[in-house]
Subunit: 333 residues, 2 copies
DNA sequence: CTGAAAGCGCTAACAC
DNA sequence: GTGTTAGCGCTTTCAG
């Protein structure tokens, strides 16, 4: 900055004024400074800036898993919306090696950077980890179901998604359906979806067959589900994510099962490209809506004062697909 | 930090020593400080730290488009590798609204943060924008074809991928094939793939039909390609990315064309989930290899001294698929 | 082994 | 309008 000041024959204070667009700088002077900045390729030190102002124009996004299409899309959407409202976004991803410490580490990285806001798109196991920073920096949870009373939360209405799937399955005449049900420790969203499916099916008098799963591998439970189909104990398999549904579809194909002739299949997500070709019946998550609202909320927090805590759960749309049809004859009562 | 010092009844200097693990702190004192840190939930201010040390433990990743599976996977891989070698990673994404200024803005955000290293997974149009910072901070280009002589570059061998596809297509007996060829301004990678396909096909005496495309919408050119197939002018359509291939597959289906009976189709990427179900013949990009090598190179740069500039292009593997078969009879000479 | 003091690059009152 | 000065939170000699 000193170099720029020297080059423009002004003091550092003036350079600072030009940088922050503060009024009261002569057009001529301003031009000289801008020239010097360009000539020297000077990039202001954000860290020094926020150290001096005790504030940061950047908000941090803690992103669960960029490899999954849903998170990829969310990342893109949040980025674009942030750009629109003038928020600088940086993203941090917890390492995917086992252990819950990773999320805390990632969170601390963001906190260490003294970001002006925190967008949390992760399961951060203990919500208390977040609560701790509520007073310090605005926090908005995005796309995660569970959330603290004092934390703004914009999420997907997973129970509704489970019900929607179950209702579609029932409408096609299925009565004996297998639901792959991951433990909450595997994925809160997937667990909520599966539980809602099971409840809805049971309430309608159908016989849901719960297949518990305790690991996050998408293929988990597929072999068992195929076996159930083979024994004609179920006419439909509902999986709590498209990733799992695709894995099951592959397993079914390998086992010589024809979809939907031998078995119907459903997923949830609706983001992955090429889903229309596969013809998977699923729910499309309202990612754009969630991202938009979360960023808007964050912008308000960062700029204005803290609004009262908001919680919203958005519902996706059902995507019909060839994979869901009427049950095979032999399965009829 | 003052509070921590007070709580532990030491001076800030000692706290600093404990934080940086520097030797020469009595075990007893150290324990007291650590205790105070935990009790107060203190997170050191990274910005102040790097301001004082004029160095940063974090390296920045400039990521083109998190919505695309290839970039999503790359993001995840880079993150994990970085974690392994002890590099803190933050990611910045250029806004996707039109205009090339976005990448520069994103780059400046990273530079402003005074990151200790720059991983560039983007097209940043003008390589000179990067060259400017070569002396200041280590730069490694990852997954982008073109690159400056003085910039480390780990990328995909796109021309080889184009050749591999062309050879597979030829081996199946196709002679008249349509190649969707995006302009370089749309995507350098895709353009390189397409050009290599066309060259290889032509050299083998086949008659490639180039279908230029100047927008990045994946559906671009699909209608025209379908028309070529309908008029039986080509027996195979080669697309420079899976995204485009999926779009074409959908267009073909809508037009009543059966793959591979009426037309063979190929893509490039091999990352998207469910590709095996669709049966698309494609090339799987060696994303993990590229990420690993790029991060290793960055770690060397950041820790040790600057090694001589390295350039590597990695070749993917061909994934056979139902979508590529022999040409229909009527297309035979 | 620990404390005091001088900055790191920048902003924000406050003078001129 | 522009320059001066005193920190922001931390590291790092240099004494003790």
């Amino acid at each position: 900055m000193d170099e720029v000041a020297a080059e423009a024959k002004v003091s550092r204070a003036t350079v600072s004024r030009v940088l922050s667009d503060s009024a009261g700088v002569q057009e001529e002077t301003r031009r000289r400074v801008l020239g010097a900045i360009n000539r020297l390729g000077y990039v202001p030190n954000l860290m020094a800036q926020s150290l001096a102002t005790r504030s940061s124009p950047v908000v941090g996004l803690l992103l669960r898993n960029p490899r999954k299409p849903v998170y990829g899309l969310l990342h893109g959407e949040v980025q674009d919306r942030a750009d629109e409202v003038g928020l600088e976004l940086i993203t941090v991803v917890p390492s995917s090696s086992p252990g819950v410490r990773n999320e805390r580490r990632a969170l601390h990285k963001l906190l260490g950077l003294r970001v002006g806001g925190l967008l949390i798109a992760t399961g951060v196991s203990r919500t208390e980890d977040l609560a701790q920073f509520l007073g310090v920096v605005p926090v908005v949870a995005v796309g995660r179901p569970e959330c603290h009373d004092e934390i703004h939360g914009i999420s997907y209405d997973e129970p509704a998604h489970g019900r929607m799937i179950a209702e579609a399955v029932l409408a096609h005449g299925h009565r004996r359906v297998c639901v792959i049900a991951p433990a909450e420790s595997v994925s809160v969203s997937e667990s909520q979806r599966a539980e809602a499916m099971i409840t809805t099916l049971a309430e309608a008098g159908a016989r849901p067959e719960r297949l518990p799963v305790v690991r996050s591998a998408p293929r988990d439970g597929c072999v068992e589900a195929v076996e159930l189909v083979r024994r004609r104990e179920v006419s439909c398999v509902c999986l709590p994510s498209d990733e799992r549904a695709l894995a099951f579809l592959a397993a079914a194909e390998r086992a010589g099962l024809v979809v939907p002739h031998d078995v119907s299949v459903t997923g949830v997500d609706g983001i992955t490209a090429g889903l229309d070709l596969v013809g998977l019946a699923t729910i499309r998550l309202p990612v754009a809506t969630v991202a938009e609202q979360a960023v808007r909320l964050m912008a308000e927090q960062v700029h204005g004062a803290g609004a009262p805590v908001e919680h919203h759960a958005h519902r996706g749309t059902f995507l019909p697909g060839r994979s869901l049809a009427a049950p095979p004859q032999h399965a009829e009562p």
